[in-house]
């Protein structure tokens, strides 16, 4: 979504335009769901938090700043809702790894062998990601999966850009270690898989 379109959508959202909401919803619904689901590792929780995120958007739509960046705004709300949820339930999010296996299987794969390799590699990555502390997981998800700029991710996490850069480096190193620790067999790189 280019900046001009985004600014136009913000203006229309402020005026209560349902079509503008639909456009934002279409652009971010699945992305926010994946972010929340990988953060919480619970489909039911992520669906609830996602619903609350959208309701927060419409309840404050008329008070949005005209230059609001919708992506970072939505991720900030979603992230804060996740941490509020954890606090309210006194959850130790580090137990998230035990919830692996709740994911539906992806739908499009080219061949059975590639499917097996991709599935195995993806499972390992998901497991490694789930074992990380939430603070590491969130920066990896925001920057490396959701594609936010580091400055935007820093704003979402309430960090200074330098602090985010350091946390991101630590998170990458931690994920690397987790991936190495789960290497029972050589990792099959997707590009090398042929049938």
């Amino acid at each position: 979504m280019d900046r001009e379109t985004e600014l136009a959508l913000v203006a229309r959202l402020r005026a209560g335009d349902a079509d503008a909401f639909d456009a934002v919803h279409d652009a971010y619904h699945a992305r926010l769901y994946n972010f929340l689901a990988r953060l919480s590792r619970r489909r039911d929780v992520s669906e609830d938090l996602l619903a609350e995120t959208w309701l927060r958007l419409v309840s404050t739509a008329d008070r949005l700043h005209t230059d609001t960046r919708l992506g970072p705004w939505l991720y900030t709300v979603a992230r804060n809702l996740f941490y509020s949820y954890c606090r309210s339930r006194h959850l130790d999010e580090s137990n998230a790894a035990s919830l692996i296996g709740l994911w539906p299987t992806p739908s499009t794969r080219p061949s059975p062998f590639e499917e097996t390799a991709a599935s195995e590699l993806e499972r390992r990555v998901e497991e490694a990601l789930a074992r990380l502390p939430a603070q590491h997981r969130e920066v990896l998800l925001l920057v490396s999966v959701e594609g936010l700029q580091p400055a935007e991710a820093a704003a979402v996490c309430g960090l200074r850009p330098e602090a985010l850069r350091q946390r991101l480096s630590r998170a990458r190193a931690a994920l690397d270690r987790e991936l190495d620790s789960t290497t029972a067999q050589p990792v099959v790189v997707l590009g090398e898989v042929t049938t």
Binding site: A18, Y33, L55, V58, P106, V125, L179
Partner: protein
């Protein structure tokens, strides 16, 4: 370079293979409907706010006036009792 600047080349590649999962479409449609309703409700709010402005101004003046009157009555009563006590 600080000790935390560890860059693992294959980490971004590993994360890029993660699949995108679709949320429940029925739930998504429900949320969309609720949000549309909330937006419609919000769109009506400005006219209500405009209508309420004179009322709000009147209330803003009324509350201090009532409190001020009660304070004046209380002060008058305290002073009159004090004067009576000292027989002035």
């Amino acid at each position: 370079m600080n000790p935390h600047d560890v860059w693992s080349d294959h980490v971004p590649d590993a994360l890029s293979i993660l699949s995108t999962h679709e949320p429940d479409p029925i739930r998504a449609a429900e949320i969309r409907t609720r949000c549309h309703a909330a937006l419609r409700k919000g769109a009506r709010r400005p006219s209500l706010v405009v209508a309420a402005i004179p009322d709000a101004g009147w209330r803003r003046a009324l509350a201090p006036a009532i409190v001020g009157s009660l304070c004046a009555v209380y002060l008058f009563e305290v002073l009159s009792r004090a004067l009576r006590l000292y027989r002035l």
